[in-house]
């Protein structure tokens, strides 16, 4: 690559970023599973409870310089749930809850990612859970950490919207309707 070409490429990049803080284009792509987590919080009889999903995969292409083209897909293996109690882990696999025999995965696919402030974004997309697909929207924060980027965000899921907890569980007096879902994804930047 000649000096001239390199210069013009750099210039193009600068123009593309609108002279933002991102002086060079990075594309966050490969998720580091060991540095990523997907957790949830809810209330049960007034008690704050939490849990996590141990297995999920994410496909990400996120160039902070080209946010409009950024995309994310997250596949969550519902059977990998850890509620803290083995009884509950078993229970939620059943028909009243996730019905993992019929719907083993939850899938989120982004439609649009918009920048709202430096390193702050608003993501809209579709969440498919237990055979139902709904639009969701949530704020996303990017924390660059050297060669990696840490994406954090969360949203409140109303379990009744996806028929999570049917029949005897459908009232909210014991298990609340609001489930706060939080994620932290660490992705390495690549070209």
């Amino acid at each position: 690559m000649t000096m001239h070409k390199l210069f013009s490429l750099t210039l193009t990049t600068l123009l593309a970023t609108g002279l933002s803080t991102q002086a060079h284009a990075l594309e966050y792509k490969s998720i580091q599973a060991e540095k990523s987590s997907l957790t949830f919080n809810y209330k049960q009889m007034g008690v704050a409870m939490d849990g996590k999903f141990k297995k999920f995969t994410a496909q990400l292409s996120f160039d902070p310089a080209k946010v409009a083209a950024a995309k994310a897909t997250i596949d969550i293996e519902l059977a990998s749930i850890d509620t803290g109690s083995s009884d509950a882990d078993q229970e939620v696999l059943g028909k009243a809850w996730f019905n993992t025999a019929a719907f083993p995965k939850a899938v989120f696919v982004s439609n649009q990612i918009k920048q709202t402030a430096p390193n702050q974004y608003q993501v809209t997309g579709k969440l498919t859970l237990k055979g139902q697909t709904k639009d969701i929207s949530f704020p996303l924060k990017l924390t660059p950490q050297g060669a990696a980027g840490q994406f954090t965000g969360g949203f409140t899921l109303h379990r009744a919207d996806f028929s999570i907890g049917e029949g005897m569980w459908s009232k909210f007096d014991v298990v609340a309707n609001d489930i706060q879902v939080n994620f932290q994804l660490t992705a390495l930047a690549g070209k």
């Binding site: 049960q44 009889m45 007034g46 008690v47 704050a48 409870m49 939490d50 803290g84 109690s85 009884d87 509950a88 078993q90 229970e91 005897m168 569980w169 009232k171 007096d173 014991v174 298990v175």
Partner: protein
């Protein structure tokens, strides 16, 4: 000489007897239930009642210091008095240690105790499944010791009443020797 318990002491004794029977029954029933909203409700109620008993025991102990119980009857031999005293000591100890073990078990199992769903008790232990199982075993075992002690306690009271024919049982009953009713 004082021959009967103070009315508040009696109230506390019988209120706690009722609460403890309820807690024991609920504890056994809920442990064997399959997971359901009712089970989670029963666990919460059991924990709320257990915390209440824990606080009531302290009130009772303070009240016991302020208004000491009537002396044992002279007809009781010294060793028997010691035995009765030791039994009461153990009953009080278990009424404190059992709720404490339940509280610790809840913390270890990751389900914080929130009294009446409003006042959270601090988690003294962090979540640890193995420790949770151990505390569950301790909580259950201590309750079997409590049941044995209650059987002894009730048996002794009945023996005093029907065999020794003394006033050990009646002095804990509602109307015996209440003020103004000394000749009843």
């Amino acid at each position: 000489m004082k021959t009967s318990y103070h009315p508040l002491s009696k109230t506390l004794h019988w209120a706690m007897a009722l609460a403890i029977f309820g807690l024991l029954a609920l504890g056994f029933v809920m442990s064997d239930m399959p997971l359901s909203p009712e089970k989670l409700q029963y666990f919460s109620w059991h924990k709320w009642a257990g915390v209440s008993v824990f606080f009531l025991v302290w009130i009772r102990l303070i009240w016991r210091v302020i208004t000491p119980p009537p002396a044992y009857s002279n007809s009781m031999s010294r060793p028997l008095q010691m035995l009765a005293h030791g039994g009461h000591f153990l009953l009080y100890a278990l009424m404190l240690v059992i709720p404490l073990s339940g509280w610790l078990m809840s913390s270890a199992k990751g389900v914080q105790t929130v009294w009446f769903g409003v006042w959270p008790l601090p988690d003294l232990l962090s979540r640890d499944k193995e420790l949770g199982k151990l505390l569950e075993w301790i909580h259950g075992s201590l309750n079997w010791v409590l049941i044995a002690l209650i059987v002894g306690h009730v048996g002794a009271a009945l023996k005093h009443h029907f065999i020794d024919r003394d006033d050990i049982l009646t002095r804990m009953l509602p109307h015996k020797n209440s003020p103004g009713n000394d000749h009843a």
